[in-house]
Every structure is written in structure tokens, then in C-alpha cells.
Symmetry: D2
Subunit: 292 residues, 4 copies
């Protein structure tokens, strides 16, 4: 198939490369040209204009936020130039409200829209080991399924409304953020009682909580190595905001999510925005009067 | 060795059986006689009086709470009758303050005191697969280490003050309770957005959160099968209370732990005390206006 | 002066009547015509089109929300038809972000914009006893000051950026909502301990908390008379949402405000939306297992 | 009447003086002798031993905490020496659980026990303007009523169980602490939006919240003058702990009270223990990234 691709950031580059490796033709556009050039050496064709990515069998996009998608016109202006019947697979973590708006904007123009956000970091994307959460019209999902199955190690269809995939992703991100905050508080308690953080983390994350996510963040928290950031706190704040926005819209009270969001706000206001989002734990330590 | 044992509840019975199977002699006392009789068939000797368990090389105890230990006199009256030099290994989840009091009470009488709380449910105890967290004087810990290693699949020494083992256990329990509450909130959000809870839980607990604890509780929450209780909500409330008591004493602010504790209180006040502690999730659903 | 007026709800009607009584000419428009007719008998002139209110010395508006203002075109379309130099005094409680947008929209068209939200219920508005919080360019504020001083018993200028008046109003509303939630919790505690709610409320609101606000809501909470609603819970939820929106934008963590907001969401999801916002207290009672 | 008095701190001294001024004979004991000497000049007789205060018609006590009362033996040892029929009026803010224990301890010895905690600061106590909250057996309360009416400007009987007076006092203290935290958050929001704190506080505390409590603390918070402490943060933490202890015992979930308690813990851990308890507001400002 011939695939258009918008958004070659750390995540998008790995995904585009895997689509290419699966034998498809990829035409890509990115705001800055460096990433396009790097992929060009592997065989990805550079689009001069965003419009050039609309000519294929499907359009994939992986941008940073609702705002970034609006900037490119994926909420309207660019769609106006797309041929009827084109399927757009949006892998970005966008808000539930924007997902719904995008679905309508595509339907109105006779375009197909599938949401397919992913779990996994850039290295996982590059390795083709993402978990892909898809939602949308079943026929559309089936059309792009062969490609999505090459992108990830796991492929789950969650419903026929695109925003449901985004909601699942958002609820999942909340679970990660809450686990980080929880470890931060538990480690602060243990540490103030004279327990070595690494001992505590080792017991918990090699026992009841033996999963890669806990092990990764547990280790960062025990060692207090919040730089360089694997995932910046400002992005964690953005995601926590998406959780609360979805909760407001659906009228769901989420007490823990509210606490976690407030801690992200506090952390950013105190200058931790560029550190890893697990630096929530340094606030927890400070709340106990512990010094770095 | 000859081991005295107090407390043959669901946990204690499995542990005592494993000590016996490891080739030790076990003399046991329990408030109700049924459990002693059952173990008697396997070779455990019945003590007529609590005092009879003091004659061995070490005394193990596994009672339900600070109060249960006081009732038996393990905070003083019974200790008065113990021979100098006896080592008492306390496997109960007691408060940090009581652990410290017990340590002093033993020292004053020339007795040894080791705290060795465990992670694991009764079936894990019976299988000898517990995680044992020990703390106390290093020489004392070494004396009972051969037995503790038979009780569990994992044995960790966390410090030389007995209360540190209890603190680790308490902090770990908070992590579990917080994970349960988090899943309850995340599932409520997903469900109100039209996502099937089992789909959401399956994605998360076979991905980033692929650990037995998440899988067990995720499945209970998705199916809303809070009865019969694997671990009663009233016990979860007790443990959440121990977390906050330790936090008060050590002066550690724990915002998430406070929310979780309040939810346990609310759940008990609303009549969920006898259900599984994961029925916190049914409150989360109710907060979203979802019906059972 | 000749004053245009948009929005003759319970608040707007009282305000418009007071402007009239102060000797000014008032031309008013309202979506439904009943209120205009009622005021017409007092001397207010009815505008056939929203446009007809733009011809005076100043335009006053008092609409329910950001959305209601957009519906009428006060964010753009209607402003396009206003003569340069017109001053618009917006008394609505709108979001800080929308206040900023409105200021820009007016400036761009050569119009003046003053924010003048108020504290007080409809009966207070009718009596001309409101507290008026104004912000905007000092010269503009001075032009409309004579009218604003007739509307309220108290008139405070808070800054030269219109959104500051809205922020003060929003922060003030949070204080009221927090006081209600606090009384709800305190009364639940006292009541479960066997203290008569009216005794507790009487002691507190005639002592340290002897202000009309506490007395009004304290009495409602003690008697559990949440209907008819003086101020609907859905409106309380809207205001709590404005508080958190301002906090997000300004990067201020507000732990209490987040709890209060979650309780409004929970209350609405549980069907209390049409009751008085002080029915937050009935959730607090339910959390203690108390029955109505 | 002849009145024994224990506890001549800042509060007790003022109260004892007012009892004396009302024409009663007062025999007082205090751990340190300075206060006794000062009152001696006014006519209060010094007791050499705590026991000497037991010989009058009633015993009044005003000590700092549960622990201080135990130290003096008012939970048992000293009571053993009291003549049957003596009425003990305890004005201290003690825990609900301890109030219940004290009631039993008195009954067992044939002594009367009345709880009579007060609202008001030392200057209010000296002026005889306290609010006195009494609870206990109606006949006993009537016997000491003439004296309690001289101590305060307001006298309220809340129930026939002594602990109810303490519960009311504790719930009332929570209302104050919550109001302080609320103002701290609201001022942080206003201030980060460029509003002068004193303007915001003036609007609110001379309007809807026009009560002395809001005015006093609003002014401290606006000026950030947290020293010298009128009421130390460590005492606020103690009171917040009493609120949560009562809530635990009565099984009442108090989300706001839990947040406020955590903030007191955080404040103490960060070194604010000796400042005024309204320095909670400096944490709120710091959470918004505002500098002192």
C-alpha cells in the first residue's frame, strides 16, 4: 500500500520505519525537515507539502497534541483537500472531545477516521513492539489492520467510536501516573523510617508489582535520577489534564486523578517541568521534609 | 529446633505446617481449638496454655492485630513467663508504634525480638511461597533465618530495627490499596465512556501492568465480583489506618493514602465491610453515577 | 445616559431596573420576551434585535455563561455592528480565558470592555445591594462608575485587566463552595456523634462564623432542605469548573478546590443537579453512612 | 463556692481570674509556679500539691492535651484521692476517645464529670468572653452552670455525654482550619493572576465572609505575617489530628479534613511548626510557584 505519514517525532519515526519495513511505500511530511531526511535514507519519500501525503491508500499521523493537529489543518483545512474515501489513522494521544470532533470533520467530508493511539516509548516504537489501541468503524479498522499489526506487538480494537481508543489510552496513562505518585509516597514513608529506598523498591517491584513499568520508575525514584527525562513532566501534566477533561465531560469524579493532576501542576510551578514525570516523587519526599 | 507457635488462623496454619515439614518440632496454641486439632493430625503438638509455647528455641506468632497480641499478653504478661534468651519472631502486620513497644518490652526482659511480616495470601502461605520481610538485631535474625527461609520463597532483611519490617509491609500494603483504587477509578471512566471493563483491564494488566496483583484485582473489578471476599474491606481499612498512623508518627504527608483511607471509611459506613477490599471500585462506579 | 442591556434573567432584571430607577434610559433585549415585557411596564424599552442595544452610551450584559455570550454574538458577530467607542460592561461570571478573549475582541474593533461581575443573589440585585467587582482600563471604568455605583452597595476596582475581576469572582465563589463542603463534613461528623445539627450550626454561625453566608447555608444544611434550589448544583459545578480552569491556566495547584469540584461532579452524577448546591452536604452525610 | 483549678496556662489564667472575680474562692495548682504566683497577687491561693485542689465544691482543669492530663493523674491516680461527689469540669480540648475514658474513670470513683471546652483565644478568655460548650449529666451541668456563665459570653449545652462537647469543639476547629486553607488557596490563585492579596481579602472578608475569624486570618495571610504565632501550627496539627481521630472512631469520611491534615503535616515537616497555623497559606503560595 501507499501510505502518507505526518509527524516524524521520536515516536512517528519508528512507526514510519516499521511501515516501510513491512513493504509499504511511505510518503512523509514533518514540520522540521531533519527527521524526513534521516528516514529518506531508509527509503521514505519526502513530501514537500502536507497535501502530498493525501494521495495514498491511507494517511497516518502522529502529532504531539490537539493543538499540533490543528496547526497542520488536520481538523479541517487539510482534510478539505483529501480525496473522498481516504482513511486517516490518527495515532496521537488527543483529548476525547477532539477525537469526537475529528470523527465528525472526517465524516462530513466523506473521509474515514480511525483512532489508534499506542502505549510504548520511542525505543518500543522503533522495535515494532507497541500496544496499539484502535477504535472506529469496523470496516475501516479492518482496512488498516494489516499495517497496525506490523507497528505493534499487540493490537486491540476497543469499540466503534474513535474517541473510545483515546479514552482507553487516557485512562491507562492515569494508571501509570498514579503508580508513580504512589511509589513516590511509599518511598518517602519508607525512607523517613530509615529504610533504604532501593531495598523497598526491590522488594515491591520484584514481587507483587513485578512489571516493567514499576521496575523502570521504581528504580528512577529510588536513585532520584530524574534527568535526563524519559518522558517530560510537562507531558505528564498534559496527559493528566486529558484525564480530567474526559472525566469532566463524562461526569466521572476521580479523586486520585485530581490529586495526581494537582501534584503535576505544583511540580511544574516549582520548576520540575523539564525533568522526568517521575520527579513527582521528589515532591513527595519534600512533603516529608526529606532533602535531596 | 523446637518452635512454639501462637495464632493458627488461615495464615498461621500454613506457616506452622511448613515449619513442621522442614523437620522442626512445633508446639502450638490458638484461642479456638479447631485449628490446633487439624494441625495436630499432621504432627503439631497442642499447647494447653499460651505459656506452653515458651519452652522451645524460638517463639513464632501470627495474630490479627495489635489488640489480639495484647489480649494474649504478648506485650507483657506472657513475656514475663518466658525464659531469658528466647527469640520471638512476630509475623503479624502490626503498627509501627506497637512494633517499637514490643521491641522494648522484649529487651527489658532479656528476650530477643524479630519482626517478620509477610506478603502473600493463605494459599501462598500454605505453599511456602511467601515473601518474608525481616528486621531486628542481625544475630537474632541469623538464628531464625533457617526457618524463615522455609516459610517463604523470598527472604529480605530490611534493617536492624524491628519496626522497619512493619513499616515496609505497611508501605507495601498502601501500594496495593492505591492500585486497587486507581483501577476502580480508571474502570469507571472507561465504562462511562462505553468501553467494556474487561477489555480495558485486559489491555492494561497484560501490558504495562502485567503482574499477578493487577491481574487478580483487575479481573474482580471488571466482573464486579466482590464476594466472597479474598481479603475483607474491614481489613483493608485497618491496614490503611496503619499506613496513616505510621505517616503521622514519622511526619510524612501522604495525599493519595489519605484519599484511599477515606474511601475505605466511606465503604465501611455504606455497608461494604464484609466484601472484598477491591469493592472500593464499586464506590468509584457510584461516584460516576453508574449502576451495578 | 442611554444604556443598552442584554440578559434579563433573575439577576439582570433587578440590575436593569435599578439602572432605570437611577434616571437612565434603558433599552433591553432578552432571548425570551417575558422578562422584557415585565420590565417594559416599569419603563424599559424593548429592543427587537440584539443590535438595537448597541446605540446607547454603554452596553451592559448579564448572561449565564461563556456559551450564552457566544450564542448572542458578544464574542464577535454582534460586536462587528457596534459603533467605535462603545463601552461594554459585562457583569457575567465568565471564565478567565474568555474574559481575555473578549477584551481582545473589543480592542480589535475599537470598543471598550469592562468586566464587572457581582456577588449577590437575585433579591440582593433587586435591592441594589450587590457587591460589584470591576476591572479594565481606568478611564473606561470611570465612565461607567456612576451606573455601577447605583447597582451595588459596594464597588471595588481590582485591576486594569478585565479578567482580574472574573478571577476575583471565581476565587470568591470557590471560598463559598469550600465553606459549604466544610459545613457538610463538620455537620456529618457532629451528627454521627449524636449532636443535633441545628445546635452545632447555631454555635458556629452565631460565633466565629457569624456571617450571612454561613448562616444561610448552615441553616439549609442543618434542616436538609435542599429544595427549592436557591442556586442550583449544576451552577455550582460550572463555577467550580471555572475555578479549576483558571488554576490550570495560571498553574496554581488547588487541592481543596479539586476535592470540592469532584464532589460537585459526584453529586450531579447521582442526580442532585437540580437541588441547591449546598446539597453537597447530603453526600457528606452519606459518606458517613447517615440516612436522610 | 470553693473551686480547685489545675492548669494556669494562657487560657487557664484568664479563666481562673474570672472565677475569682465572680466572688468564688480559687485554689490553683500548676506544673510551673510562675503563673500561680502571678494569680496569687489577685487572690488565688496556691496549692502545693495537685491533691490540694480536690477539696472544693468543684475542680476545674485546663491542660494542653490528653497527655498532659495523664501526666497529672487526672485519668486515674489523682482521681483516686478525690472525695466522692466532687464534680470535675474539664475545659481542655481533648480527644473524643479520651473524653469517654475520663467519663468512665470518674463514674467508677463516684465523681462527676462535665466537659466544657471553649472557643476563644487567651485575650477572649481574660475578658470573660469565651464561648463555652458543655456536655454531661444535666444535674451536674446545672451545678457548675453559674460559674461557666461567668467565664464566657455564651454558654451552650450540647448533650448529656461529655465527649459530645469535645466533638463539637473538634468539628468547629476543623471549620476554622478549613477556612484558613481555603483562604490560602484562594489568595494564591488571585495573587498569581495579578490581584493584590489585600484587595481580594478585603472584598471577601468585608462582604460574604464578614466575621472576625475570616478578618483576622485573612489579614495575616494577605500580609504574610505568620510570626509571632497567635496559635502555633503544631497546635493546629494536633487539632487536625483530633478531628481525624474522631472521624476514624465514628466512621465518617472527611475528604477536606484529610487534605487539611496532610498540609499541616507537610508544613511541620518543612519547618513551619512554630509559625502561626495560618502559614498553611505559605504552602499554598509555594504550590503555585510564588515566592515569599
Amino acid at each position: 500500500m501507499k501510505i502518507g505519514f505526518i509527524g516524524l517525532g521520536a515516536m512517528g519515526s519508528g512507526i514510519a520505519a516499521n511501515i516501510l519495513n513491512a513493504g509499504h511505500e511511505v510518503v512523509a511530511w514533518n514540520r522540521s525537515s531533519g527527521a524526513v531526511k534521516a528516514l529518506g535514507e531508509k527509503g521514505v519519500k519526502a513530501a514537500n507539502e502536507p497535501e502530498d501525503v493525501l494521495a495514498g491508500d491511507a494517511l497516518f499521523s502522529m502529532l504531539a497534541s490537539d493543538a499540533a493537529m490543528r496547526d497542520v489543518g488536520l481538523d479541517g483545512a487539510l482534510l478539505d483537500r483529501a480525496p473522498r474515501g481516504l482513511v486517516h489513522v490518527n495515532m496521537a494521544t488527543v483529548s476525547v472531545a477532539f477525537a469526537r470532533e475529528l470523527d465528525r470533520a472526517h465524516k462530513k467530508r466523506g473521509l474515514g477516521y480511525v483512532a489508534a493511539p499506542v502505549f510504548g516509548r520511542p525505543d518500543v516504537a522503533a522495535a515494532g513492539r507497541l500496544t496499539v489501541i484502535a477504535a472506529g468503524d469496523a470496516l475501516l479498522v479492518d482496512r488498516v489492520r494489516p499495517i497496525l499489526e506490523k507497528i505493534g506487538a499487540r493490537f486491540v480494537v476497543v469499540g466503534d467510536k474513535p474517541e473510545q481508543a483515546n479514552l482507553l489510552k487516557i485512562a491507562g496513562n492515569f494508571m501509570i501516573a498514579s503508580a508513580i505518585e504512589t511509589m513516590g509516597e511509599a518511598v518517602a514513608l519508607a525512607r523517613k523510617g530509615g529504610i533504604e529506598p532501593s531495598v523497598f523498591v526491590d522488594v515491591m517491584t520484584n514481587g507483587l508489582f513485578a512489571s516493567p513499568m514499576y521496575q523502570t520508575y521504581g528504580s528512577i525514584i529510588a536513585e532520584r535520577k530524574f534527568e535526563p527525562a524519559g518522558f517530560k513532566l510537562t507531558l505528564g501534566l498534559k496527559d493528566a489534564g486529558l484525564t480530567l477533561a474526559a472525566a469532566r465531560e463524562l461526569e466521572v469524579a476521580l479523586p486520585l486523578a485530581s490529586v495526581v493532576h494537582d501534584h503535576f501542576v505544583e511540580a511544574k510551578a516549582k520548576g520540575l517541568g523539564v525533568k522526568d514525570w517521575s520527579s513527582l516523587a521528589s515532591l513527595a519526599a519534600a512533603r516529608a521534609g526529606l532533602k535531596e
